[in-house]
């Protein structure tokens, strides 16, 4: 073998090794959390209240809290995001306005999550007086996932063939009728799958809800959108940093982490698979 060939072989091996390391990192994380998490998970763990100052019992309030927060976030972000995407894809002409809007979306996506938390604290908790609540946390998470929803909706709208619109317009419909009757129904499944990615993101975030929604220990379930809640991601953090019985708390944290990982990753996986299939689809 000549030296050029050897170099190529070595180079490819390095690339292969790097990729393997990346996949291995994911595997190791999933492995440790699954193996140690599964030990504490049973029916009671998922359906009971925590007890004895967080050292035993279940995580039902945290599961419900994450569910409510995510629901609130998506109810807020989905209509806004879809409407923004409709403007960008169906109405806007390329120009300065669109350019500025795009800069806005890109930069909103890049704002650190803790900054969203401060924004939520100042605006929703204090200024609007919603207090530390599901509503404040949900709205904060909603703004955080808005860019994800807009991008997913844009992709879904762009995937609708131009001929659909032309056929509709040729029948004498207005632009709005075309969008409402033809484009949106064709794009809706794509919009929803993309939005699932937003759900996964909202469910896993901790920093934005730190000062806007969560409490470490509550013995009651939330009663309205103005209640404070427990949430899975914050529960993991609190179990690891607060309290005085790490020997009881760490196993619970493993269980909570596994539940959170399972929820977030299965949601992501479903979204990714459906999306990749949709990308290949011919109309």
């Amino acid at each position: 073998m000549n030296s050029r060939k050897v170099k190529e072989l070595v180079g490819f091996t390095v690339l292969r090794l790097a990729t393997f390391l990346i996949l291995f990192a994911l595997f190791i994380i999933l492995y440790f959390i699954s193996i140690r998490g599964i030990r504490v998970i049973d029916c009671q763990f998922l359906t009971q209240m925590p007890s004895e100052g967080m050292t035993s019992g279940g995580i039902l309030p945290a599961i419900l809290g994450t569910f409510y927060l995510t629901l609130c976030a998506i109810c807020f972000a989905l209509p806004l995001g879809v409407a923004a995407a409709i403007y960008l894809v169906e109405y806007a002409r390329q120009g300065r306005l669109v350019r500025i809007i795009r800069i806005g979306i890109n930069n909103l996506a890049g704002v650190p999550s803790i900054v969203f938390g401060l924004f939520g604290l100042a605006v929703f908790v204090k200024y609007f007086g919603f207090g530390v609540s599901i509503l404040s946390g949900g709205l904060t998470l909603g703004i955080l996932i808005l860019p994800i929803i807009i991008r997913a909706s844009e992709e879904a709208l762009l995937a609708v063939p131009q001929s659909f619109r032309e056929a509709s317009l040729a029948l004498g419909t207005t632009k709005w009728q075309t969008i409402y009757r033809i484009v949106l129904p064709s794009a809706i499944s794509g919009i929803l799958t993309g939005s699932i990615l937003g759900v996964g993101r909202a469910a896993g975030e901790t920093a934005p809800i730190l000062f806007t929604a969560v409490t470490f220990y509550s013995i009651r379930l939330p009663t309205s959108i103005f209640s404070e809640v427990q949430a899975l991601p914050y529960h993991i953090y609190a179990l690891m940093t607060e309290g005085t019985h790490p020997e009881c708390q760490v196993p619970i944290a493993y269980g909570t982490a596994l539940v959170l990982l399972f929820l977030v990753l299965s949601v992501d996986l479903v979204a990714i698979i459906i999306r990749n299939r949709a990308r290949k689809r011919k109309w």
Binding site: F12, L15, I22, I33, A92, I101, N107, L118, A203, D268
Partner: protein, 292 residues
């Protein structure tokens, strides 16, 4: 005529929603400045940025964020050492070496890596990586800049890999064909043609990875050890800007100097990530133009 008016109204209505992102971004800026600027009544901008001591609860308090700023830069740098070689190599493997079948498996898996919540990374760092680091390097505790960098590096890989991969795929086929025609093999083409041509896009990927790392909160809060002192080695605990905000905001009184100081830290953080993002945006445009 009425129909056209109605259509215009609908268009304007949707335009308002499209502008919401900018509205929220401006809202964030306004809130940060409104709540952050009052701190500069008691300290100067220079003292704040370059003060060496962060003792917000002492009497009199010290509001110098240099240790926190350096802490953030330190772990970001450490994370890049981990993430750039792995992430870029992974991108080249996916787009240039892997068979389509492998590619179809690896890409979603890396996307999943991006989907793991940061608190889970932090938890994993605390219970698995930190004890390991402590054992290997014979330290009393493994919660330090090294462990934080390692984990932040893993977190930055998906961003770097997926954007680099887009950049590599954007290199026109004719570049590679020309290289093969001159007798170069695949590896020579990758290093001498594809890499230089995609370099602009790859630097965008790295900058966005940096923005991701510097804004990351929960992982560093849990893993970096938390001491607000100027770091001297990778094996010392440190505290970043994000971790400081997260750890201390819960204990402050709304409207106190400490409260305003934490918002002022957020201004610094926001300005840094914003400039990274704008820089990445500009680089992307130049890159696209160059490749035509």
């Amino acid at each position: 005529m009425k129909r056209a008016q109605k259509e215009n109204l609908i268009k304007g209505f949707f335009c308002l929603f499209a502008l919401l992102s900018i509205f929220f971004l401006l809202g964030i800026v306004i809130v940060l400045f409104k709540e952050g600027l009052p701190i500069f009544k008691v300290t100067t901008f220079k003292e704040f940025l370059f003060g060496r001591f962060w003792y917000p609860t002492y009497e009199p308090p010290d509001f110098g964020i240099l240790p926190l700023l350096l802490g953030s830069l330190w772990v970001t740098f450490g994370a890049l050492i981990v993430a750039v070689p792995l992430g870029v190599a992974g991108a080249f493997y996916i787009s240039e070496v892997a068979s389509p079948k492998k590619k179809e498996f690896i890409k979603p898996v890396i996307e999943l890596l991006a989907g793991i919540p940061s608190v889970v990374y932090g938890f994993f760092g605390m219970v698995v990586v930190a004890p390991l680091v402590a054992k290997i390097f014979r330290l009393p505790v493994g919660l330090n800049a090294f462990t934080a960098s390692l984990i932040l590096g893993i977190m930055a890989i998906p961003t770097i890999t997926s954007i680099s991969e887009d950049a590599i795929s954007a290199v026109p086929k004719r570049f590679k064909e020309a290289s093969y025609a001159l007798g170069a093999n695949k590896w020579e083409t990758i290093t001498k043609v594809t890499l230089p041509a995609a370099a602009g896009g790859i630097s965008t990927a790295i900058i966005l990875g940096m923005a991701r790392v510097i804004g990351e909160t929960m992982t560093v809060l849990m893993v970096a050890g938390g001491a607000p002192i100027i770091p001297h080695s990778f094996f010392e605990p440190l505290r970043t800007m994000t971790a400081t905000i997260a750890a201390e905001m819960g204990e402050t009184v709304v409207g106190s100097l400490h409260f305003h100081a934490l918002f002022a830290i957020a201004i610094v953080l926001f300005v840094i990530t914003l400039s990274f993002n704008i820089l990445a945006d500009l680089l992307t445009q130049r890159f696209r133009k160059r490749l035509g």
